[in-house]
């Protein structure tokens, strides 16, 4: 105990003496003077400060007032070009996982299966390209699906389509429509992710490379949009155009080849799965990877 702690303790004992005999029970006609009241309050604060000052930092005793755990040094996680490229590769692997899963489950056939195979091949090429860029910058490529996006979007979405008996989730009534809806959302988000990366990347040459991949993801989304909504390829929502060219509805369709004038960073809603007893289907909002979904340089793959 150092000198300041001794002074605290001395002050505390004086305060205890000063408050002895006070009638704390009758608040209205209290004999506790205003001065004593403040002194008592001060005692509480000083005593707490005293205990805190005396508390050990490495003790393994039962937790009590004044014992605070040692602070853990937090990991420094800057958003570097390498972290962004690793995240891009992980997102490509999320898409690869989805297309491989729907093909393995036999959910697509005919033209839809042909397009899915092409999209899968494109995502494999994109994953190789972003992994190669990561390594050129001196980083370690992350050749796995993004773990967070996999757990919050991909796995729940696929469970809604294929069903999961153990969790009591029935399979969807229309797997082809649901796979197309999921693929549309996923491809839209993939394009948006590269768009979002452009101002975040430090190297302008990498920005060009990133948006070069992003525009291909956008084309995938547009192809699916054109299949889901062939009658209205380009949305009129948000445009100042003559009424005769506006859509005759107040609610935008779920998909378009071209949904907006500019690429957006907005979440993409997707409705999947069988309807519940109230006739309601589950909606997920897919979003571009946020700062807590990036594959920082310290994150290891398995």
């Amino acid at each position: 105990m150092n000198n300041s702690h001794r002074e605290e303790l001395h002050t505390f004992s004086k305060i205890v003496k000063a408050t002895q005999g006070a009638d704390f029970g009758s608040a209205v006609q209290s004999s506790l003077s205003r001065r004593r009241f403040f002194i008592a309050g001060g005692a509480t604060i000083s005593f707490g400060a005293l205990l805190a000052a005396c508390g050990g930092s490495t003790t393994t005793d039962i937790a009590r007032i004044g014992n605070a755990p040692e602070k853990t040094k937090l990991v420094d996680a800057p958003v570097t070009d390498i972290a962004l490229l690793r995240t891009a590769t992980s997102l490509e692997h999320n898409a690869i996982f989805v297309y491989e899963a729907v093909v393995a489950a036999g959910l697509l056939s005919g033209d839809a299966a042909i397009l899915a195979a092409r999209f899968l091949s494109d995502h494999q090429a994109h994953a190789e390209a972003t992994a190669s860029l990561t390594e050129k910058l001196g980083g370690k490529a992350f050749n796995e699906p993004n773990p967070r996006l996999q757990s919050i979007y991909i796995e729940p979405a696929l469970r809604l389509i294929t069903g999961d008996e153990a969790k009591g989730i029935p399979a969807t009534d229309d797997p082809v429509a649901d796979v197309l809806a999921l693929a549309y959302a996923l491809e839209t988000i993939a394009g948006s992710t590269y768009q979002v990366y452009v101002p975040m990347l430090a190297d302008p040459a990498l920005r060009g490379a990133a948006i070069g991949i992003g525009e291909q993801e956008a084309r995938h989304a547009a192809v699916i949009g054109s299949l889901l909504n062939p009658g209205r390829l380009v949305s009129s929502f948000g445009l100042s155009i003559a009424a005769e060219y506006q859509e005759e509805t107040d609610v935008p369709a779920a998909a378009y080849a071209v949904p907006t004038a500019f690429g957006t960073k907005a979440p993409v809603p997707v409705t999947l799965g069988a309807a519940n007893e109230s006739g309601i289907r589950t909606s997920l909002n897919l979003e571009t990877p946020s700062l807590n979904s990036l594959v920082y340089e310290y994150v290891d793959g398995e």
């Binding site: 958003v79 525009e215 956008a218 380009v234 060219y245 004038a261 500019f262």
Partner: protein, 175 residues
């Protein structure tokens, strides 16, 4: 984890060189808007006329957004050579218009991708990137309007032609 820091020393606002590039992008956007308007006025579009009108409005929006970014440096006038060179393809025939526009939008995607790789300021790069995402979607919509199939004519929908990319790299009529 500490609050993540974005590591970039790039300027936010357009530099002088950026402004020149963005001015050129605006002139192209206005020329292409006017080409769509010419086709619509000539009677092209058929069942998809509303889509052509909307695409024209997108290019108008790009020109306005660039004005907001570079202010008085914006030319506010179309690239007259680009307009004149392509005007003959933007008549009343919907399929011909869709195919001509498909080529132009692919050229825009390639040229603007080069522009994004050249711009120093992040605001300009972000804006042009958001245009590219939609220009790529325009390509797909126009291929569909031209009656092409994404299964049998896949590359028309999904691939930026090498010629467009090569043109964009050497520089060129469109920015």
């Amino acid at each position: 984890m500490t609050a993540p820091k974005i590591i970039s020393a790039s300027p936010v606002r357009p530099t002088e060189a950026d402004t020149e590039l963005l001015a050129s992008v605006q002139a192209s956007a206005l020329a292409i808007r006017d080409l769509y308007h010419a086709a619509i006025a000539a009677g092209a579009g058929g069942d998809h006329v509303a889509s052509l009108v909307a695409i024209a409005a997108h290019h108008d929006a790009y020109a306005q957004a660039i004005s907001s970014l570079i202010g008085r440096a914006a030319p506010q006038a179309r690239d007259s050579k680009l307009f004149t060179d392509n005007k003959a393809n933007f008549g009343a025939d919907t399929t011909a218009v869709a195919l001509a526009a498909h080529t132009l939008e692919n050229d825009l995607v390639a040229a603007h991708t080069e522009v994004v790789g050249s711009l120093e300021g992040t605001e300009g790069a972000a804006l042009v990137a958001s245009m590219i995402i939609i220009e790529a979607r325009h390509v797909v919509a126009l291929a569909a309007i031209a009656g092409k199939s994404p299964v049998s004519d896949t590359d028309l929908f999904l691939v930026t032609p090498e010629a467009a990319t090569a043109d964009a790299q050497t520089t060129t009529t469109i920015a």
